[in-house]
């Protein structure tokens, strides 16, 4: 009888210890919680150096080599974007700052653009990079009308100014699993993920990743000889045929809704 009582006591103690153990485990997430399920491991990750994912896409299927994918970058009210001239840059270096940056980017190349007039940070400049890793296939007469829309918000810039790294993976949404809400600058909020997750893998679950934007606080080097490395060799880009018209049309729309 005493042995049974002792056994029951030990069982109870063990259950209590297990309960404490599980309580401690579920209280917070660990990096191991975000390990990929199964035995597979992706070859490409968003944390790869800029250009790796895009270059890998060039070896894939489809007419992607030499294709200038139209991209449009917008931001909060007042923010201006400019792009370095391709090839041999001029002494001024950058294009005219615009509120909507539109250009055709080569897949696999990395483009570093300049962000100025950031709200709350007068005189501060940021130099994010954009890497187009896949293209769209619109009808021929709608190529420049439907670029890849990259909408950056104020949190991106403020986070980068704090010294952290912001990685945005833009993906083409699958209409079968689309979010049932009207998309506008207010509702187009990004899907926030943990530091231990791969944004490229998450974006691949919801659609087809097409671009990676990396926003940090890196500034241009003081020595001019290091500028080509900083701008990734000034890759070629194509201006939009209707860039000026669409830019004027959208300047009044986007900022007012972001306010």
């Amino acid at each position: 009888m005493s042995e049974i009582t002792t056994l029951q006591t030990r069982l109870a103690a063990g259950l209590i210890a297990l309960a404490f153990l599980f309580e401690g485990r579920v209280s917070g997430s660990e990096p191991a919680d975000f390990l990929p399920r199964g035995s597979s491991r992706p070859l490409l990750r968003a944390s790869d150096p800029p250009g790796v994912v895009g270059q890998a896409r060039l070896t894939g299927r489809g007419p992607v080599v030499g294709y200038y994918q139209p991209v449009a970058i917008t931001g909060p009210k007042g923010v201006r974007f400019s792009l370095p001239h391709a090839g041999n840059p001029s002494p001024s270096g950058m294009t005219v700052p615009a509120q909507r940056l539109e250009a055709g980017f080569l897949i696999g190349s990395v483009y570093r653009f300049q962000v100025t007039h950031i709200p709350g940070a007068l005189g501060v400049e940021l130099f994010p990079t954009v890497e187009v890793i896949d293209r769209t296939y619109p009808p021929q007469h709608l190529v420049t009308r439907y670029p890849i829309e990259i909408q950056l918000d104020d949190e991106d810039f403020q986070t980068a100014l704090r010294g952290q790294m912001v990685t945005r993976v833009i993906y083409l949404e699958d209409p079968q699993t689309a979010i049932p809400e009207l998309q506008n600058p207010k509702t187009n909020v990004p899907l926030e993920i943990s530091e231990f997750q791969d944004p490229l893998a998450v974006a691949d679950e919801y659609g087809r990743p097409v671009a990676i934007v990396r926003i940090g606080s890196l500034t241009p080097p003081s020595q001019p000889s290091l500028l080509p490395e900083f701008y990734f060799g000034y890759p070629q880009w194509a201006p939009f045929p209707h860039a000026s018209a669409s830019q004027n049309a959208d300047q009044d729309e986007v900022p007012s809704e972001l306010e």
Binding site: P138, P139, Y146, D156, I170, P175, I179, Q183, S217, L218
Partner: protein
């Protein structure tokens, strides 16, 4: 009695018009000549097999396009805005256009599983994007007909954001990864100083050199393996002779069959032609069309009603927030009236019905209920039966999300 149905004659006329060289503009169904209908008789309709593959209904105006001839048509409509639905099945092999279905909003059709009606108000197997019409014939037989699919180019981009610590740049402030726990489980382990000295490269190389394996490989390259090529060529020659002997060695029965089939093929080629009979009156001239791949004969029962449903949109592309007008046209192309006509349009996730935008020619009971795609399922039930040749057009607007 063999008569052709009005539908088949009209389709055949349209196809012939395009085959002549697209001489006329697109034939709107409303502009087609009214042909007297033949009812109350068994009907044999003749329809080209290639018609359904090569013709699409324009979502803009409901006109019929021969897709294979579109690029050669000089008219402004053909060279201009291509309908997305037609473009997705472009048959122009010279300039093949690649499309991604994820960039299109599709609405219409009946994707699997096939929709069935299990009660007065409930359909099973109705997927988002499906558009069908359910009706009953005069004999009480229920039928379901799916519409064509309308596609709008409306890509939508979203993003995934990850905020992490600084990865590069000496000017960055705040290493955010300092708070992460660092494993200290290996601190108490002794440093492998002796192990480093013991792991000499020479001692390891003596073991892994594998001289015995090298000798074995040298010894196991026999001369017989080289001589196997001659053996292989002899085998091939022997097989060739064997094939030739079999080919010429026909039995007596096989020779008779070969002669019979050869005569049958010659006879079939001479008599091959297409005959069109209208109202049991055989046409005096025979139509010979060498490009015709075949034909299908549909036998319809007497007084059997049949509905044709087509769907169209007023634009081929849309941004989020744009309003698209959809139209659904149902027409009784059979030989008897149909009853209990119910049109169901299951809107996809990114389409939001604009309240109060419904326009319908006939009296209908309209319902809009939530569906599984977090949008609406639109239902129209006609109050009156649909007679032979009658049609109803429904228009409504949707906002692209």
């Amino acid at each position: 009695m063999r008569t052709s149905s009005i539908q088949s004659v009209s389709i055949l006329s349209v196809a012939c018009t395009f085959l002549v060289g697209c001489a006329s503009q697109h034939l709107s169904r409303k502009d087609q000549p009214k042909t007297p209908r033949v009812a109350a008789r068994p009907v044999n309709a003749i329809e080209m097999n290639s018609f359904s593959n090569g013709v699409s209904v324009s979502p803009a105006d409901g006109s019929i396009h021969l897709v294979g001839h579109r690029s050669h048509c000089p008219c402004e409509h053909c060279q201009g805005a291509l309908s997305a639905a037609g473009a997705m099945q472009s048959a122009d092999t010279s300039t093949v256009q690649i499309y991604d279905t994820q960039e299109f909003l599709r609405d219409g059709g009946d994707s699997g599983p096939t929709a069935v009606r299990i009660s007065d108000q409930t359909f099973r197997g109705l997927q988002p994007e499906d558009t069908i019409v359910h009706y009953k014939t005069a004999t009480g037989q229920p039928e379901i007909q799916a519409s064509n699919q309308v596609a709008l180019y409306a890509p939508r981009f979203r993003s995934v954001r990850q905020i992490s610590g600084s990865l590069a740049g000496g000017r960055a402030v705040g290493p955010a990864q300092m708070d992460r726990p660092v494993g200290i489980v290996n601190v108490d382990q002794p440093l492998p100083g002796l192990v480093m000295r013991d792991s000499l490269e020479l001692g390891h190389a003596d073991v892994a050199r594998g001289l015995d394996a090298m000798r074995e490989r040298e010894r196991t390259v026999p001369v017989e393996s080289v001589q196997q090529l001659n053996v292989a060529s002899n085998v091939m020659a022997a097989l060739l002779n064997l094939t030739a002997q079999q080919a010429y060695d026909l039995q007596g029965e096989q020779k008779a069959l070969v002669h019979q089939y050869a005569n049958a093929a010659v006879t079939y080629q001479l008599d091959e032609c297409l005959e069109v009979a209208v109202q049991s009156f055989r046409t005096p001239s025979l139509v010979r069309d060498q490009t015709l791949d075949g034909f299908t004969i549909y036998d319809f029962e007497q007084g059997h009603g049949r509905l044709q449903i087509s769907k169209f949109a007023d634009r081929e592309d849309a941004r989020p927030g744009d309003v698209v007008t959809f139209g659904i046209r149902i027409e009784n192309v059979g030989d008897g009236e149909v009853n209990e006509v119910v049109v169901v349009d299951n809107l996809t996730t990114r389409l939001e019905y604009v309240q109060g935008s419904l326009e319908c020619e006939a009296e209908v009971d309209f319902q809009a209920v939530d569906n599984q795609a977090q949008s609406l399922q639109l239902r129209w039930e006609l109050k009156e039966p649909l007679g032979v040749g009658e049609s109803v057009t429904i228009q409504f607007k949707c906002q692209v999300r």
